[in-house]
Amino acid sequence: MSRLDIQPELVCDLLVRFLREELHSAGFSRAIVGLSGGVDSAVSASLSARALGAENTLSVLMPYRTSNPESEAHAKLVAEGLGTPTRRIDISKMVDGYVEPEVVNDETRRGNVMARCRMTVLYDLSVDWGGLVVGTSNKTEMLLGYSTQWGDAAHAVNPLGDLYKHQVYQLARYLELPPEVIDKAPSADLVAGQTDEADLGFTYAEADELLYRMVDERFDAEELVAEGFDREFVRKVAQRVVRNQYKRIPPVIAKLSRRTINQDFRYLRDWGK
């Protein structure tokens, strides 16, 4: 048993309650999830279907012309398995309308544009559907900053943000999601053949073990090396966590008044709900 192992039934129950209560208190009974064909969005959609009913969860597939066709096939498999209504929006024209005339060839920039186009579609459809956008970012990728700010990282509520990738997999198996989705190599699918782990230079399993000790158990660098982690790996991951803090908090506001939003004007988002 890994120290990261969770009780999936207990976690599922809590997250279903979380989605139900946070959406209901905001005045919503419907949700919308962007299905990528990957395990994170499959788990988010499945939790949402349990919390609100499959008929109240809209799955949105948003392929780009160079996306791996397998991604869409897997997303369909998930939506069909859950029985959610589904929309398919091809973002190719939307993305190309900007990247072609501007000659954006850098893969990271193109990937970010795709992620932000998907966000634009989700937030627009959320008005038509009358539901909130449910997030799909897990704790591992949030800590590593492996996401596009205002892109895939944009959402109203996030059931997965306190679960490491290992724990998302556990939940996916508990939720009996299709094995094709669980067993494949994770990929942002922004570039053909891309995998997350090749991008990052280490595996999620390695990152999870390190981050759990670093963040949850507060081991310092020397203690992590003593636990058997490579010093350079520890340094690299710690640096990513620090560098990407800006993606995890609201933008910084220049303080002028006696009462500044989020500094000394402090209220929960659930204020008045």
């Binding site: 048993m1 192992d5 809590l14 309650r17 209220y267 659930d270 204020w271 008045g272």
Partner: protein
């Protein structure tokens, strides 16, 4: 003492005293009709928990009309409820009021504010400075508000002052779902402490936690009563709002204390001497 105590495990609406009060009055009225003598609500049950700047805005003097409604109903049933108190001089406290015979008869101000990790009570609230007992018509009660219970001092004060029951209203989050435990690890910790406290103090321990979410933080519920033998006699399972009732009797206290005479053999003056020496020595080491 022979009284029926109802635990009301609620999900307060954050910042909405009016709607929370309505729910309090409905529940108290219902359980009074069912024959309960006392109904207890969780910590900050009239306001919700993560108040931040709202603490100042929601603070009530003990003479506030909102509390008057509970006082009036307490002719029928004794009521414990949590609120933010504004004292005469303007301090803001995390307070727990006990209403009986038509009036607010006691207020406990949380002594050990919790200000680490996810909590920041000290930023917005003043700390209470006493652990006094409530002389209820149903028995002698002590109140320890959530974090108060994590410190031995309050428990000991209520023990040496012969409380019949220690009331522990809380806003304890549900945390830790690791596979090595069953249920939330935070809930297991609370259960261990409540069981131990009942055994050490030989009183009834009455724990009332809330449920629901505030900005993603779940509260763990699991309200329960442990008798002076350390045996659970009532519990509300799970994360749903609910109620349960327990019967608290002097005879149970006497049986527990007769079998194991901890009180007879307690030597509070030994502790008093140690505390005196501790005070004389000072808490911090001298810098040489």
């Amino acid at each position: 003492m022979d009284c029926r105590v109802t635990l009301a495990q609620t999900n307060p609406v954050l910042g909405d005293v009016r709607s929370n009060l309505t729910e309090h009055l409905e529940i108290a009225s219902d359980v009074a009709k069912e024959g309960s003598d006392v109904v207890l609500f969780p910590e900050l049950s009239l306001t919700g928990y993560f108040l931040k700047d709202m603490a100042l805005e929601l603070a009530l003097p003990t003479s506030a009309p909102a509390l008057g409604g509970l006082a009036r109903l307490s002719r029928d049933i004794s009521i414990g409820a949590g609120f933010v108190e504004r004292s005469r001089e303007g301090r803001i406290y995390n307070a727990y009021g006990f209403f009986e015979n038509g009036e607010l008869v006691a207020v406990h101000r949380k002594v050990h504010l919790v200000s680490y990790g996810m909590f920041e009570e000290s930023r917005d609230l003043a700390a209470g400075e006493r652990f006094r007992q409530i002389e209820s018509r149903h028995g002698r009660f002590g109140v320890l508000l959530c974090e108060d219970f994590w410190h031995l001092g309050g428990l000991y004060a209520h023990f040496v002052n012969d409380c019949d029951a220690i009331l522990v209203p809380s806003c304890a989050p549900a945390r830790g779902a690791e596979a090595s435990v069953t249920g939330f690890s935070s809930a297991r910790t609370w259960e261990s402490m409540l069981d131990a406290a009942a055994l050490f103090t030989q009183t009834f321990i009455v724990y009332v936690d809330r449920v629901g979410f505030e900005d993603g933080v779940a509260f763990a519920g699991g309200s329960r009563v442990v008798d002076p033998f350390g045996v659970e006699i009532a519990k509300i399972d799970g994360l749903d709002p609910g109620r349960t009732e327990a019967r608290l009797t002097t005879s149970a206290l006497h049986r527990a204390r007769g079998v194991t005479p901890l009180r007879r053999d307690e030597k509070p003056w030994v502790l008093a001497g140690e505390l005196e020496r501790h005070r004389a020595r000072g808490d911090a080491e001298e810098v040489s």
